[in-house]
């Protein structure tokens, strides 16, 4: 009897979590997936309608703006975070005396919420009281910087604030990667007469491949989920200039009574993230098994 209990106990302990995940994650995905095939408005309706929400979504100008913004934001965010993160990691790895002092400064933005970040940058970039007015006061009268109020450039202010928040984290990932590389390799290359720049370009950076991959996956998935920062910084505006898929989903579902379309946009977001994350997790778990 006791042995029987011991056999089943582990499964019983794991069951509540597994059940929760099964219902609240996978069940909910199926539910939202079904709603995307209905004509739900303010409340869910369950009458099957077929795929027509999908072509309708892709035909919406509003959605096109959101996807276009995500492309601009995502590419710049990933690229700039990676460049800054790698640069800072390499510089910090040069036996910098103040490393213990500098590293926490580079990293602390990661502890803040995007709402706090958005609030800080919203007023810092505000032409009336922020950067533009500071420059005017310092005597640069012709300085003009109103991107946050400008339909064409507002999305780049979202990139600025997001890079500020995440680039230190990317630095930490690269720094961990650099610290994992055998110092002997560096010495051997130096003895062969390779310059510092060449060693990094030809030997060290290629060895950081896993860190690049992890950084890419994390940043891409953060970019697709980006919601809070836009709400706090620009609230999607001016007009719809900084709308992203996440803000689109929220406003169509809860404010415009177009729940069917909202569900459809959520499914598209899920597909975007899974197409990046599943191959990554699969390869990670497989290499774990092999080792």
């Amino acid at each position: 009897m006791k042995n029987y209990l011991q056999l089943w106990l582990p499964r019983i302990v794991l069951a509540p979590s597994f059940f929760l995940i099964l219902v609240f994650v996978y069940g909910f995905i199926i539910y939202t997936g079904y709603l995307s095939l209905t004509d739900s408005r303010m409340l869910p309706t369950y009458e099957f309608m077929g795929w027509s929400n999908y072509p309708k979504l892709f035909g919406l100008r509003h959605w096109k703006i959101a996807v276009n913004n995500l492309a601009i934001f995502g590419i710049l965010y990933i690229l700039i975070c990676t460049i800054i993160g790698l640069l800072l990691a390499i510089l910090l790895d040069q036996k910098i005396r103040a490393e213990g002092f500098l590293r926490p400064i580079f990293l602390y933005p990661m502890a803040l919420s995007f709402i706090v970040t958005g609030t800080a940058w919203k007023w810092f970039l505000d032409p009336g009281i922020g950067l533009e007015s500071i420059m005017h006061q310092w005597g640069w009268e012709s300085f003009h910087f109103d991107w946050i109020k400008n339909r064409t450039f507002a999305i780049y202010t979202v990139v600025m604030a997001a890079v500020w928040q995440s680039s230190g984290f990317v630095m930490a990932m690269f720094l961990a990667g650099l610290r994992g590389i055998d110092g002997e390799i560096m010495k051997a290359a130096q003895i062969d007469g390779a310059s510092g720049f060449r060693i990094y370009r030809r030997i060290i950076i290629p060895m950081l491949r896993p860190a690049f991959l992890s950084a890419f996956v994390i940043l891409a998935h953060l970019a697709i989920k980006a919601y809070d920062l836009v709400i706090a910084l620009t609230n999607g505006g001016p007009g719809r200039a900084t709308e992203l898929p996440a803000t689109f989903m929220y406003s169509y579902t809860f404010e415009r009574n177009q729940m069917g379309l909202g569900a459809t946009s959520a499914i598209i977001m899920l597909i975007m993230i899974f197409s990046i994350i599943i191959p990554y997790l699969y390869s990670e778990l497989r290499s774990e098994k092999e080792s």
Binding site: P10, R11, S17, F18, I21, Y31, I84, V116, A172, M249
Partner: protein, 294 residues
């Protein structure tokens, strides 16, 4: 030959390049500190001073009025309550959610590494994948379900939400940590007749200190900083700090009290900043553990 000649006059070069490295690092340090500096100095100024420009200047008149206002009297939504009630809302949501998800995560990690059964890989895969879903995919059914169970707009409802969407991460942390723990010790204890919980309690748990710290910090930061769930599911007496701050800053009525906004932003950031300053080392480790496996 060429390389040795370069090395020949490298003394001055090395010095110049060291200065250059420090210069770049200092410029970036200023860039990262600037928004915090802006928030801090402007939260200590009277409003007229901010309106007059000079956001980077130190206050001429130092004043804590905006802090008092942000904490206890600023208009948020319809109430002139300040952020104080929302601060306590956040606390009473974060504490149980962090505790429960950490306890579940540690037990799950224990089962998944030391009591593996057929299909444990699939269970772990599903838990792991759940960490990365865009939460937009669960907003509609979650709103409906919370309504059905009478949890809509309550702190208990938010605790449930954060528990469900945090348990994947906590399980991942503990699983990776326990998989490095020698299984032989567990096997030996089993032969000695120790049961499931006894082994966990007496053998695994006493050596779990570091991973518990990492998990608690990770969960605390994520749940405290959450905005989407708070904005979607909270009501008057459960609205968390982030949502209240956003309401404070983006309320369209009246004059924009920048100094109060900045003070409020720092108040909202304070708990996670304190955690970060006190245990930065663990915080970083948590980030890495969440990002890359083990």
């Amino acid at each position: 030959m060429i390389s040795s000649s370069i090395r020949g006059n490298s003394g001055a070069n090395i010095k110049a390049s060291r200065i250059f490295i420090y210069l770049i690092l200092i410029i970036f340090a200023i860039y990262y500190l600037l928004p915090l500096y802006v928030m801090l100095v402007n939260s200590l100024k009277p409003l007229e001073e901010i309106r007059g420009g000079g956001m980077l200047n130190l206050p001429i008149v130092w004043s804590l009025d905006s802090w008092r206002s942000a904490w206890s009297s600023a208009q948020i939504g319809v109430d002139p309550s300040g952020l104080r009630p929302y601060f306590w809302n956040s606390i009473s949501m974060v504490v149980p959610a962090v505790l429960l998800s950490t306890i579940l995560g540690s037990l799950n990690g224990y089962v998944l590494t030391k009591w593996q059964f057929k299909g444990h890989g699939i269970v772990f895969g599903l838990l792991l994948l759940s960490c990365f879903i865009p939460f937009q995919i669960v907003l509609i059914p979650m709103a409906k379900l919370l309504g059905v169970f009478g949890l809509a707009g309550t702190t208990a409802g938010l605790v449930l939400v954060h528990l469900v969407y945090g348990v994947g991460f906590t399980t991942l942390f503990f699983r990776n940590y326990y998989s490095a723990f020698p299984t032989e010790i567990v096997k030996a204890a089993q032969i000695d007749g120790a049961g499931f919980f006894r082994i966990f309690w007496r053998i695994l748990l006493p050596s779990s200190g570091p991973i518990i710290v990492v998990t608690v910090i990770w969960q605390f930061t994520n749940i405290w900083n959450d905005f989407l769930f708070g904005a979607s599911f909270a009501d008057f007496d459960s609205i968390p700090m982030t949502v209240a701050l956003n309401n404070l800053v983006n309320s369209s009525t009246g004059v924009k009290e920048y100094n109060v906004h900045f003070a409020g932003a720092i108040l909202a950031a304070l708990p996670t900043l304190v955690v970060y300053i006190v245990s930065g080392r663990y915080f970083v480790r948590g980030l890495m553990a969440g990002a890359v496996k083990g």
